[in-house]
Assembly symmetry: D2
Homo-oligomer: 139 residues x 4
């Protein structure tokens, strides 16, 4: 079982495109922010600390699948409900449900992995097995 953490977004004029609706990559930026926010609220330290304790420098995306049901516009408040749907050995799947009150605007999963700098080449990154303590904190 995963915790569910809500991240709040206030849509601004500059988040919208000439059609007057949210430019969709902003939804994915907010999902990314909500993914980070989820781990912080579960008690994980920021990546700059995780780098020192676990060598972890980020949790990049491997795959994203998102469906968009309703547009949003500036002046609106959105709530993103984020949880972990599944932990695998090296990857985990986060679910983000973006709501405006009772309406679901979009819904998507992100497949992510925790990475360290590659031991042989620090300009590259390397997936690691999901740390036990990270999983425990999020449950």
């Amino acid at each position: 079982m995963s915790k569910i953490v809500t991240y709040e977004v206030n849509v601004m004029f500059g988040d919208c495109d000439p059609a007057g609706i949210v430019f969709f990559p902003n939804f994915l930026k907010w999902m990314d922010a909500s993914s980070h926010h989820f781990f912080v609220k579960c008690g994980l330290p920021p990546f700059r600390t995780l780098e020192k304790t676990h060598g972890i420098i980020g949790h990049p995306l491997l795959e994203i699948n998102t469906r968009f049901f309703r547009p949003a516009t500036y002046g609106e408040s959105l709530q993103i409900q984020t949880s972990v749907q599944e932990w695998r050995e090296k990857v985990f799947i986060q679910l983000h449900v973006v709501k405006r009150g009772h309406d679901i605007l979009c819904e998507g999963t992100e497949t992510r992995t925790f990475v360290t700098k590659h031991p042989d080449d620090p300009t590259k990154i390397k997936s690691i097995p999901i740390p036990e303590d990270v999983m425990r904190l999020c449950s």
Copy 2:
């Protein structure tokens, strides 16, 4: 059969995150740019003209599915190869393959629809059947 149109991106410092790699929503921003670029190169006028001729104000996303294989960083040149994989009655599926030379960095499909302002409420939008002339130009 669809045309394949290539959109070129030069990755900048500000496109990258503290891990030193492209912040992923930027890939989706570039896919969106490549989607627009595709239609322009196929001969479609910009949306501000399409609004006058077809009432079309945009082609919002209904669904996005993307897999990320390799990170990219600033100073690199990327090529996005965009085509239409399928035309349905009211939606179409665009395929974007993001390459750095021969390497595929990420690959994704976008399900989109052409929209007009809703006849009953101009603050809302409405899907329309894909215009014949649009399909013809892209083939």
Copy 3:
């Protein structure tokens, strides 16, 4: 005298660049958001309503002058204190002070004007004198 309205920002991982600090155009995006937020909190309706009542479609920037004193990074909460420094006939100057608790991170003025669609060419925009009721609401 102008009201002073505070806009809160939570800095996210994706707002930061490879140096690990906020990519500076994000400060200007937040100042823009704070400029909009200021008018909303003063009681102005959103631009989509102002377009109907006053013909106003936005308040674009004519000039920006900003000094950056301290960097910020993800996980931090910032407060932007926004006010109107001066009303002239067709332009006004907004002051934004970005703070992290007691520290001032950056400080800048924006010179803006309210615009309508140009009567002769709706693809162009046109400055208008600042409406009396707008000034009154902000004081």
Copy 4:
């Protein structure tokens, strides 16, 4: 005397706001990109290499002053002409002139400094005198 290097931008749909014109922080993002592009074209290596050779991790902004004369919209090609207006001991002033053909859309200066990680606290940054070889390459 400084070199003048031109950076080309193709304005995309998603760069524009509900008023249909470029959302202004994008101009500053492009000026930042042009600032980086300038140094690359002058022969400076990317920051990830400069970190190894000079300890330099970036060239953050201390001050920005920009005037906006004309809006731009999607489908347009812009040219940013970038040069160094002045070298001081620890700071330099870059001038960016954003043009659309013969029209100047906006014009601004950026005051920047080269920074290293702070020797006493690697989470902080520190200004350094402008390296001789950097100045030589840009002249």
